[in-house]
């Protein structure tokens, strides 16, 4: 039996009168890349924000690495967060800091007794692995959208997370940069041995990066399985239309 790193059961979340998640069940297994697909506003990002304790569910269970997130106190929650890397939709780089300072920020605050040399070595190694060693002294405003995403991923990897969460990694990027980001997601899994959840509505990204797909519609997962299993025999019209829009000429 494969080891589960994330276990979601009956998760519900509303904002005012709007029910976003209506009893969601999902598992993430160790070493797999799971893609969560869905329309904009379907609650995909809400799901991963609950996973890192940025939002709290109304009911249901969200276990990450065996711990129930909603019951954790600040210290325990922060310890869990160190094991989760979160790559934000807009990269969320600290715009008043250089790339080096951005990457140092989580490292110096969470790993004690590192020398200046060790910090620099770690930063250079990660910038190398995302293909941007020359950007170390640049400000975020001097980077392109794709470069910001890469630096964002490198910043999350600096704490050696076990789980990576990517929120719309290819949103707003050109097709070639999208392909680079997709390759980076696959490379991160192989190089750093992470389990990942990729939130997207881009089927090309989903196909390139995911081992399994989960389609979130109306606050529930309508289909879960491999790309072929989900889309080859899709019964739900909306799941089918997802595929048609991305891959079939109108």
């Amino acid at each position: 039996m494969e080891e589960k790193v994330v276990e979601i059961r009956g998760l519900m979340k509303s904002f005012g009168d709007l029910d976003v998640l209506k009893g969601v069940d999902l598992d993430l297994y160790k070493g797999e890349n799971l893609v969560v697909l869905g329309k904009s506003g379907s609650g995909k990002s809400v799901l991963i924000k609950i996973m890192v304790g940025l939002l709290k569910q109304d009911s249901g269970s969200m276990k990450v690495l065996g711990q129930e997130v909603s019951t954790l106190r600040t210290k325990a929650l922060n310890e869990l967060r160190l094991k989760i890397g979160f790559s934000f939709q807009n990269s969320a780089l600290y715009d008043s800091m250089t790339v080096r300072e951005n990457m140092e920020f989580p490292l110096v605050r969470n790993v004690k007794n590192l020398t200046r040399g060790e910090i620099t070595r770690k930063i250079e190694e990660l910038l190398d692995s995302v293909g941007l060693p020359q950007s170390i002294n640049q400000m975020p405003s001097e980077l392109s959208g794709g470069q910001k995403k890469r630096i964002g991923v490198a910043r999350t990897l600096i704490l050696n997370p076990e789980i990576m969460l990517y929120d719309e990694p290819t949103a707003g990027l050109d097709p070639i940069t999208c392909m680079d980001i997709n390759n980076l997601i696959v490379q991160v899994r192989e190089q750093y041995n992470t389990s990942s959840i990729v939130i997207t509505h881009d089927l090309t990204c989903a196909k390139a990066t995911g081992d399994r797909m989960a389609v979130l519609l109306d606050g529930q997962f309508k289909a879960i399985g491999s790309f072929e299993e989900v889309f080859a025999h899709a019964e739900d019209e909306r799941v089918k239309s997802f595929y048609d829009y991305n891959f079939v000429d109108s």
Binding site: L54, F86, F88, A92, Y94, P106, R109
Partner: protein, 265 residues
């Protein structure tokens, strides 16, 4: 008629509800500041960086304003005093006005406009672009890094800036007095220091600490609670200035009453 009254009722209660919710949220924000300020880690490097930003970057504007205030106030006071042949009182009058009220007030209002809006906009834009969330998920306390450091910086730097403004305003006043009444620098400052008491200086420093805290905490609160979108950031910056200025005037009034009561004892 009854129907009309009922229609209006929820609107009024909604406003009152919003007012008290806002008040409670602001109170909790201030409480959180005092809870976090004494707990390590102490982000000293960032406090120093913010002190530098607030202090050094405000200097040109504060210098110019303080200097002009000194000259203008002296020139405006001269005709009234000369009617009684009392222009020799100008240094005393200006020093009391500058140290007790003008210096702290002018500095605080300029800092509220410059630093309050800058803090509100900076933190607001960090909120909107998920930078605060990014800090939180990397197991760093964004409140400590962004709010505590900035509030400490404004609290400690405003008194320093006030002393500087007092000095620059008095120098402006001296230039005017020297040009018209031929008073030397030594005579001018002897009169200045004879007129101000220890209570004046202490109350000015304490008032400045309070103003500095207000500018920092209001700017941070408005930025931290800004709603999504660029419009929300603009609104946060704007309301940070308006609210800080309003509170500074209220505080000035309260401190004045307390100091006057002490003076009469």
């Amino acid at each position: 008629m009854v129907g009309e009254a009922d229609d209006r009722k929820p609107l009024l209660s909604k406003k009152i509800d919003k007012f008290f919710t806002g008040l409670a949220s602001a109170w909790n924000f201030v409480r959180r500041f005092f809870k976090e300020v004494f707990v390590p880690p102490y982000e000293l490097k960032e406090v120093i960086h913010q002190c530098y930003r607030i202090g050094v970057e405000s200097l040109p504007l504060i210098s110019l304003t303080g200097f002009i205030v000194g000259i203008v106030f002296t020139n405006q006071s001269r005709p009234s005093l000369s009617e009684f042949g009392a222009t020799s009182w100008l240094p005393s009058l200006i020093s009391i006005a500058v140290v007790r009220a003008m210096g702290p007030l002018v500095t605080a209002l300029i800092a509220a406009g410059k630093m309050g809006s800058s803090i509100g906009a900076e933190i607001g834009s960090m909120k909107v672009t998920e930078q605060i969330d990014a800090m939180e998920v990397s197991a760093t306390n964004p409140f400590k890094f962004l709010v505590v450091t900035r509030v400490l910086a404004t609290t400690f730097m405003i008194p320093v800036l006030v002393m500087y403004t007092d000095f620059v305003a008095l120098m402006g006043s001296f230039l005017s007095v020297n040009a018209n009444e031929m008073v030397s620098l030594t005579t001018f400052f002897v009169q200045v220091f004879e007129s101000i008491s220890f209570l004046d200086i202490i109350s000015s420093v304490l008032k400045s600490l309070l103003f500095g805290f207000t500018i920092g905490i209001v700017g941070c609160y408005k930025g931290y609670n800004s709603s999504k979108g660029t419009e929300g950031v603009g609104r946060a910056a704007n309301s940070a200035v308006v609210m800080a200025m309003f509170l500074i005037f209220i505080e000035e009034l309260l401190v004045l009453q307390i100091v006057n009561a002490i003076r009469m004892m």
